[in-house]
Symmetry: C2
Subunit: 351 residues, 2 copies
């Protein structure tokens, strides 16, 4: 296998063990060899398998599916945590501090990213790995940048399948980072157990820049950079958010979203956030909501994928491509109702 | 035409003028006669046309489409207002007071409802017309109960096309009532210019019973029953909501949602609500947002209808019906990923 095949070399090679996989670097490992490597907790095998998942080559997709099927029975024993927040809120610093706290507790932490706006050339949100200098060197951590992909659906599939592989490779805490400015939070929310919104204390519109609806998805709001002169403002922001969250209806889980402050750069409040997540997990598992939510998420992704493909087939149809703009214009000119227009387009498609 | 054909007699017959249509009550009017009647602002013709729109008979659907196409150039010159709130909040009393205020100002008011949970037998939210005793007798008002329909999509289509007919029949203010407990608010929000959430003052969780996300859709929150002992509590609630809304990001329109109180039963604050809506309309029209939003809504309904039909065709397919449950079980048993399962089902469908 050469890089020309669309399979880049593993992004992270900080695994010190000399494995069969590494010796065969130039030779393409079989899917079984990759699965064996993953189940032996080998990071190189994991990276190679993820690269297959991320590939757009149909042959690789087939192999990726085989690997995932074999890994699935060994997955799921983890906590999946989504972390969002606008650029500048300190996500990388937070994840570095949070991840280090977890590895010190003996946890094995995988950090992934969902950022459909990024591409290899534009750079992804986790692309600059120097932003997590210490975590990247940690033997118990695994950091993977955002896969490139044209559609959010594509990126979401890749990330979700990467979670499976990471879990099979022994990672018990999966952190998924996303930028809180697009559609990607909904996707991430639908693949994690706990969704954390990072915020900064600021005057006036606290939610400025955050997409509508995100606050309702959050299981916790953490006000970062609560240090130095900022401590007082962070505490005021915490009070305001607590008051606002109180106005929202309770979540299906019965979990009342929490608001807390932290200073990722000084390591303050990080342990309390982890304790809060453990508390959530305890409640969710005791009440059966944890299992239920994961099952619902599986179903969501099945239906979501079908929905996306059906639409994609329709809108890629040459006749539809040709007629859609004209039909839309006819609607805007009040010559036909949107419903009658839809009927006409569907009739063209089905002929 | 007999009632056996699935066309019920018009629900509202408080039109005093003796028209050609009424004389031909037993004879089925042609689509052109119905269109002429609608454009002459005849309520009986309007009711009959709506009944065609609501029918599930394909012949009626064809006729309905013809009528809508001919009415479309005469529609759109109206204000469309959505009103939601949980049962008990006083929606009917509010609409009665609000509608009477508008007809006194010379407005022509149509009141429709979206309630997909209702059916003819279960009774619809506007079915009990005695709840709007005065408005129902008002020559400048037209009240139509929720159409029955199995799917929200079906009900939404019927309501949206009924709006077109009402506008062509000279109604300049369209009020659409919905119960704030299901998916229907999103549908109503996507067919109105202004979305009003009715609330009651209460201790603790102000949004109890309101579906998540509704508060973000509201252009105004009106705290009803601000009378007697309730005035003080209503004012406190208003302050709390104002504070909470301040935390939300600004709407695309730049409109900052308003919070106000009223007593529908005493007629207090109703005029101020209408003034607020006029203020909104002025801003929205000056800034071009009004037109833009209606165009976006047209596009939304085209894409939404296509999406629904594509899914409906897929899930009604006999092979898919047979395989879906088993495939879902395979996913829940961790034998296949949701994405690979979707691929398999789509391959079956396309064969």
């Amino acid at each position: 296998m050469s890089e020309k095949d669309g399979i880049a070399p593993p992004a992270i090679t900080n695994d010190q063990s000399i494995s069969k996989i590494q010796k065969q670097r130039r030779k393409q490992p079989s899917t079984q060899e990759l699965v064996d490597g993953i189940l032996e907790h080998n990071k190189t095998a994991l990276s190679r398998a993820i690269t297959l998942v991320e590939s757009t080559n149909p042959k690789h997709l087939k192999k990726a599916n085989e690997i995932i099927e074999k890994c699935l029975p060994h997955a799921n024993a983890s906590i999946r945590i989504g972390i969002t927040g606008v650029p500048g809120v300190g996500k990388s610093t937070f994840i570095e501090a949070f991840g280090k706290h977890l590895t010190k507790l003996g946890k094995k932490v995988a950090v992934l990213a969902v950022d459909p706006s990024s591409s290899v050339t534009k750079g992804s949100i986790l692309g600059d790995k120097t932003r997590m200098e210490e975590l990247v060197k940690d033997a118990n951590a695994f950091i993977r940048p955002s896969p490139s992909g044209e559609s959010l659906g594509g990126v979401a599939r890749k990330t979700r399948e990467t979670i499976i592989l990471c879990e099979a490779a022994g990672f018990d805490t999966i952190i998924i980072e996303t930028v809180g400015v697009g559609q990607s939070e909904t996707a991430v929310h639908s693949m994690v157990d706990f969704f954390l919104l990072l915020k900064l204390a600021g005057a006036g519109d606290q939610l400025q820049g955050i997409k509508r609806g995100i606050i309702e998805m959050a299981d916790a709001i953490v006000i970062n950079k609560a240090d130095g002169d900022n401590v007082k403002r962070a505490k005021i922001a915490r009070t305001e958010f607590k008051r606002a969250l109180h106005l929202f209806p309770a979540k299906d889980s019965g979990w009342q979203p929490k608001v807390t402050t932290c200073s990722a750069i000084e390591g303050e409040g990080i342990d309390a956030i982890w304790d809060m997540i453990l508390d959530y997990m305890k409640t969710a598992k005791t009440q059966g909501f944890f299992e239920h939510k994961r099952k619902e998420q599986n179903k969501f992704w099945l239906l979501q994928t079908i929905d996306e493909r059906l639409k994609s087939m329709f809108y890629q149809d040459p006749t539809i491509k040709e007629q859609l703009a004209a039909m839309l214009q006819t609607i805007q000119n009040d010559q036909i109702s949107p419903f009658a227009a839809a009927q006409k387009l569907l009739a063209l498609y089905n002929n």
